[in-house]
């Protein structure tokens, strides 16, 4: 018992932290590290699922894999468009919910609803709404006279990705709206009052006060959504499975197919590694921006 009190406290601390750290290492660090290792092997049906060391062969194969590049393209498009739309709609929703009106709490609850529901179930709902024959969306458009015959939203390669984006926007806009709403509510009203006394219009208020002060929240929300959208799986898996003809195949769907359908573990691991690196790079850039922005956000 010659340990100092500080040592004891530290030790207690480690014991408190240990289960969480072990769990995170097991479920996060190990799989990703393992993927790095496995990506150097060929382990697929051709090798009867035995690992054979082939160095960077998998990465070379990836370079000429047209489907991989298409999936990267799809993922990028999906991520960019859906996050952008979600930001705009989310900001709009947040601004509206930040006004005081009767029943605001109820509206806020309802606006949050899409976020809380299971994506896989919601995907079936949207599949049904966008059904080419019985879908209500086609019906509404036809009643409005905008189209003459029903569009096969999910079956037509030209429409499928946009349809999936629409569903994703619906599902995750509330998340952004809530984050931004919290940011809006933290901006003290006196700032607006002072600025208004200075003669600023509402638009100037928004542009010169709301937007800069909200920037940290916007960036964080974007970062979160970017990462989630880049890894989108359940929505697309249920709505289109990546089809038609790979039109909605994102990296996640491709990775899943490579591993679970083709049993091409080595190549799947290489895909995981590359996706991980791309995401890490993007996160690092975003974090760098964020850290530069932080001083501006420190007014609280």
């Amino acid at each position: 018992m010659s340990k100092t009190l500080r040592d004891q406290e530290r030790q207690t601390g480690w014991w408190l932290l240990a289960p969480a750290v072990i769990l995170l290492l097991l479920v996060y660090a190990y799989p990703i590290g393992r993927s790095f290792w496995l990506s150097l092997f060929t382990q697929n049906l051709g090798t009867e699922l035995q690992p054979v060391f082939t160095g960077l062969n998998n990465y070379g194969r990836m370079a000429i894999d047209g489907r991989f590049w298409q999936s990267i393209g799809n993922t990028t498009l999906f991520t960019a468009i859906s996050v952008l739309l979600e930001l705009l709609l989310g900001l709009g929703t947040a601004l509206v919910l930040n006004q005081s009106f009767r029943g605001r709490g109820a509206v806020r609850t309802i606006a949050l609803l899409p976020w809380a529901l299971p994506t896989a179930l919601i995907a079936t709902t949207w599949t049904w709404i966008f059904n080419d024959q019985f879908g209500v969306w086609n019906d509404l458009l036809m009643r409005a006279g905008l189209i003459k015959t029903g569009i096969n939203w999910l079956g037509d390669p030209h429409w499928a990705l946009w349809t999936v984006i629409a569903a994703d926007v619906w599902k995750t806009t509330p998340f952004i709206a809530i984050l931004l709403l919290a940011g809006l509510q933290a901006i003290p009203n006196d700032l607006y009052e002072a600025h208004t006394l200075d003669g600023a219009s509402p638009w100037q208020n928004f542009y010169r006060i709301t937007l800069p002060l909200l920037m940290p929240q916007i960036l964080i929300a974007t970062l979160f959504r970017f990462a989630q959208a880049f890894g989108i799986f359940d929505l697309i898996q249920v709505m289109t499975g990546g089809g038609p003809g790979g039109a909605t195949e994102t990296v996640s769907i491709y990775i899943y197919a490579t591993i679970m359908r083709y049993l091409d573990f080595g190549y799947g691991a290489a895909l995981v590694v590359v996706t991980f690196l791309i995401l890490s790079l993007a996160v690092a850039i975003a974090a760098f921006w964020l850290s530069k922005l932080r001083p501006a956000g420190d007014w609280r």
């Binding site: 100092t4 009190l5 500080r6 004891q8």
Partner: protein
């Protein structure tokens, strides 16, 4: 029974704690020691070190003949009253008071008996079943005190226990505190930045600044014989006049006016200290007077605080005069009584004997 000894305690800088340098203190049984100083002086650090909430970088803490430096707070048998009272919000008053005893596996009957006892002179009747949220500030303060008293600890620690009370209540509780702790048989260490509390409650006061112990003395001596320039300026309100003066042979020169230095002081410069309440109006015919111009008069109620610019200098002198005295609109003659003068070394700040 027990005696609290701090031996050369050091706490080096870290972001959370004010540093502490080479603090040694002895607190005897029943003695009420106040740690006094401005914020950031290290007084809370000292208290937290004693409690074991922080670990000293160097030095030792003894309670009686136990070296508790490496003991956990709960093992030191101390009790502490916090500024925020730190009552457990989810427990009843009774459980709050009993918690420390229960942890020491005291039989329930004895706990009940002890609480009764404390209850009697703190007057907590009818509060025992309530939760802290349902109590007023003064009541919470009492519960916090009760929680400490019931423990019969080897040392009491009180961290600014009055600062969350409003002014009226504070005076009342201050008086009660004095009474309650006069019966206690353990060392009491009390932290405050309020010198009135320090003066009224303590048997001894330790003035801290910048992590250093400045003076450890009875309240009276702290006031009458401040050990250095810092203590002189910190204790007493309004603040003591501290005038840097040049010396000319045996005299310090306040403008044109020579002030005789005590014999042993031979320095080119000194700091002259005099409390505003000791400056008095010159009587008619008095010779060695100081001429000055009244720059500002602040009415403090029972007296007036005058800011006087000493003639021929830019030095300002404050004097506390009772309003029944009269003086000229502008010009005023003042006397600095020799027995009320304090001299300090401008280099070290130490008192010159």
């Amino acid at each position: 029974m027990a005696q609290l000894k701090l031996r050369a305690l050091n706490k080096t800088y870290n972001p959370q704690v004010v540093p502490l340098k080479d603090l040694s203190l002895d607190v005897q049984d029943g003695e009420f020691l106040t740690l006094l100083g401005p914020s950031g002086c290290g007084k809370s650090t000292t208290l937290r070190l004693i409690a074991g909430l922080e670990q000293p970088t160097r030095g030792e803490i003894w309670i009686g003949d136990r070296n508790v430096t490496e003991q956990a707070p709960g093992d030191r048998n101390i009790a502490m009253v916090f500024q925020s009272y730190a009552l457990y919000p989810h427990m009843t008053v009774y459980d709050n008071i009993a918690s420390g005893l229960k942890l020491r596996r005291m039989p329930a009957s004895e706990i009940r008996q002890r609480i009764e006892e404390v209850n009697r002179f703190l007057g907590l009747d009818g509060l025992l079943k309530r939760k802290p949220g349902q109590l007023s500030g003064g009541q919470r303060q009492r519960v916090a005190l009760a929680r400490a008293l019931v423990r019969r600890p080897d040392v009491f620690l009180l961290d600014e226990p009055l600062s969350n009370l409003d002014a009226l209540l504070r005076e009342q509780v201050r008086a009660e505190l004095k009474q309650i702790f006069s019966d206690q048989n353990a060392p009491i260490v009390y932290v405050t930045h309020d010198q009135t509390e320090a003066m009224t409650l303590s048997t001894r006061v330790a003035v801290l600044n910048d992590g250093y112990l400045q003076q450890l003395d009875s309240p009276k001596r702290i006031y009458t014989r401040p050990a250095n320039r810092f203590v002189a300026g910190f204790i007493g309100s309004p603040q003591m006049n501290l005038l840097p003066l040049k010396c000319d042979q045996n005299c310090a020169m306040l403008g044109r006016y020579p002030i005789p230095l005590p014999d042993r002081i031979r320095l080119p410069e000194v700091i002259l200290g005099i409390r505003p309440e000791h400056v008095r109006l010159a009587r008619p015919g008095e010779t060695s007077t100081l001429q000055g111009q009244v720059m500002l008069v602040e009415n403090l109620g029972m007296s007036d605080l005058l800011s006087v610019q000493v003639e021929g200098t830019s030095i300002g002198l404050r004097a506390l005069l009772s309003p029944d005295q009269s003086w000229g609109e502008k010009n005023i003659s003042l006397v600095l009584p020799a027995e009320s003068l304090h001299w300090f070394d401008p280099q070290t700040g130490d008192r010159l004997p």
